[in-house]
């Protein structure tokens, strides 16, 4: 039984990945590229060297964390897509605080706290005013974007480099795991976060209550669980993960150690996280693997462009197709559930 519940989602994800890769190949063929060559370049770039592997893992880091945001919420029956905005705040909190106190722990803690705090308005709106979390979190993402952009362009602008904000001081940067690569302790932190998320969801009373109200709110209420409290907790735990994503991204991802102009280096992780979470079946351990899979796509994209001559846009198209195909089964379950409510 236990094996069955494990194998089925795994198989579904693998089938979906295969379909995505095949459709991607068709698109590549019609666009005049050799799919075999392209995929070979992608895999080679992502996994063919220690540097490639380091790239893959460092690319996986932030999206594992943002996927946890989505997964914890989804387990509570909430469709929280506010990870994107929370990442921005996590990043800016880390930059500000480490420039006050040059200690990495302060930066991480700041990112976590601001992330959790930022997720609260959407939680309260949901619980007390019935505002649907999809609407509110989309709006909050924009509020976050422009608020943080103001700081990036204004108070935190780097006087020596117009392309980014002030940097994380050297003393507060997360140590690298491999010299010359982008892989730092951030990756270990993300794995730890996933394991802790798993522990909370499946081995604590809080997690039990979150999952119970996610599956069946009426039954949860009957069981003496307060679903409102469960929802607020799921937002808090989720926010803390995305806040951590933002903080680790600026503190542990060379070379910039800052937010770049237009926030390009911290942009899009929240949305990638949704795909990662769905492929990982909203399960923290599944998310580690699907995060690494997405990391492969991201890290391999550059190699695909350089070696197979596939333009970056095409790389993104292929990535998109794989993501969609891979996300379909999980998304399908979720849609069925939402419709049934």
């Amino acid at each position: 039984m236990k094996i069955d519940t494990l194998v089925k989602p795994l198989m579904e994800s693998i089938v979906a990945i295969t379909i995505g890769v095949l459709i991607g190949a068709i698109v590549l063929t019609f666009s005049g590229f050799s799919p075999i060559e392209a995929y070979k370049a992608l895999l080679d770039g992502a996994l063919g060297s220690t540097y490639g592997i380091a790239m893959t893992l460092s690319s996986a880091t932030p999206i594992i964390l943002t996927a946890l945001t989505f997964a914890i919420s989804a387990r509570t029956g909430i469709f929280n897509i506010g990870a994107e905005g929370t990442v921005y705040f996590g990043a800016i909190a880390a930059i500000i605080l480490t420039n006050v106190v040059g200690n990495p722990l302060v930066g991480l803690l700041g990112g976590i706290l601001l992330g959790a705090l930022w997720s609260l308005p959407a939680a309260f709106l949901k619980v007390y005013r019935g505002v649907h979390e999809v609407i509110s979190t989309i709006m909050f993402n924009w509020i976050a974007f422009y608020t943080v952009l103001y700081f990036v362009l204004g108070p935190l602008a780097n006087p020596n480099d117009p392309n980014k904000t002030i940097e994380i001081p050297t003393s507060a940067r997360l140590p690298l795991l491999m010299k010359g690569s982008e892989l730092s302790w951030a990756f270990i932190i993300a794995i730890l976060a996933a394991v802790i998320s798993y522990y909370i969801l499946w081995h604590t009373v809080l997690g039990y209550e979150l999952r119970a109200s996610g599956y069946n709110e009426r039954a949860a209420r009957y069981a003496g669980i307060n679903p409102k409290r469960a929802i607020i907790w799921s937002f808090i735990l989720g926010g803390l993960m995305s806040g951590l994503a933002g903080a680790t991204e600026v503190m542990g991802r060379p070379p910039s150690y800052a937010i770049s102009q237009g926030m390009a280096n911290i942009h899009g992780y929240g949305f990638d996280g949704i795909g990662v979470s769905l492929v990982g079946r909203n399960h923290p351990i599944g998310i580690i693997f699907s995060g690494i899979f997405f990391g492969i796509l991201k890290a391999g994209a550059t190699a695909m462009q350089i070696e197979a001559g596939v333009p970056l846009e095409m790389v993104k198209v292929v990535q998109g197709i794989i993501v969609v195909a891979v996300a379909v089964p999980g998304l399908w379950d979720l849609i069925k559930k939402v419709v049934r409510r």
């Binding site: 039984m1 236990k2 519940t5 522990y199 081995h203 604590t204 009373v205 809080l206 997690g207 039990y208 209550e209 999952r211 119970a212 599956y215 069946n216 009426r218 039954a219 949860a220 209420r221 009957y222 069981a223 003496g224 669980i225 307060n226």
Partner: protein, 509 residues
Amino acid sequence: MEEVPIIKMKGIVKIYSDGTKALKGVDFSVKKGEIHGLLGENGAGKTTLMKILSGMLHPTEGKIYVNGSEVTFKSPADALAKGIGMVHQHFTLVDVFDALHNIILGMEGHGAFSKIDVERAKEKLQKLMDELNFQVPLEVPVENLPVGVQQRIEILKMLYRDVDVLILDEPTAVLTPIEVKELFDVLRTLKNQGKTIIFISHKLREVMEITDRVTVLRKGELIGTVNTSEATPQLLARMMVGRDVVLRVEKPPKVPGEPILKVEDLWVKGDRGEDAVKGLSFEVRAGEIFGIAGVEGNGQTELIEAITGLRKVEKGKIILNGKVITTKSPKDLYNLGVAHIPEDRINMGLILEMSVAENTILGLHWREKFVGPLNSIRWKNVKEHAKRLVENFEIVAPGVDSPAKSLSGGNQQKLIVAREVSKEPLLIVASQPTRGVDVASTEYIRNYLIKLRNEDKAVLLVSADLDEVLQLSDRMAIMYEGQFVGIVKPEEVTEEQIGLMMGGIKDEN
């Protein structure tokens, strides 16, 4: 010469896909221009029979004749084409549409872009309303209208489709007494216009008041059709609840102890804001099963939810073992010694996606035994607990790690009973404890409730199954429209008296 009935149904059998035999060969005929009552308890097959007549369900066997010629209905549209329309108990209106658009829905013309002739529809409706001598606002979203008006819109919707035979399923269930009176006026007007009306109900007084003839069903079988003028409420009650001999459970005599649950002048509102429980007072003592019988929808659900902390109490007091618990949460109540077997096993009693083990701690998952350091769950203890329950209650399950949905209905219900008993309660509130449960599990659960009573627990039993209440209760109340018609001892009442009380009539003898 015998007049050809407008509706004739012959030998109707309906077996649902899950094997339930809802109708076992029922004959039914309606004369043109009459108001025909269809009377029976829950599960008698009234609604099923009418859904077949209105084309929503297909009979497994049997024939339907309209004006003497045989018909087959593939859909409600076919029935409508023959002039048969049904107003369901739960309305089928689009909340945000106004009356006009609700009524013309589906008749607005064919093709996605064809123009809707609103003016002509309005004219026709105005004429209809003038004839019927009632008005409904045509241009207000129906969600802003009272239930009585929504019902008229449903009736208008059918008349707009030129039905001759109008079926009303429990039409008074949702209405206030004044609205009932107004509805009856409308029905009489329709009758005078030559329409035929089939009136499904379980309320004896209403059936006596409005119908010309009554057909009584019981457990999927036809009991008989009588002229209302020749019937008495007593006769109808007897026809409705006449009992079969059923397997009896062992129940030794017992002198009940102290009152465990006291309810004083309790008022509770239903989902639509109506008063569902109206000033109830009663007590359940230790070592006693107090049963509540009655047709469903008479406030039983609201009463149970109020006692178990799931619904707000408007007025009155609930006292458990001397302690006022009126505003306590379910969690507090479990800690104080309440257990609750809810009526809705699938949506409340269990979380089907979760494992059997996880389900065995639902509502006691905070107990010391299951919680370790850092608020962690001691899965080892939980699994032991689950295994013990599965063993003690002879629950057939693939394992405690398999999801609750992999269990059969009967075993799911036993799982709930097992869990609730493991809360070591003083009071067990059991709502429809054996509904949809196989015979063996039913027997097990009933005997278990008696065992709890023998162990000096207080048991509050609510069931739409009259046999169950009669068999198990030491004392029983019959609930009707939010109140108790009477509190009696099962061995001291006749079927007729109970039938009358279920229909809202208290026998004065």
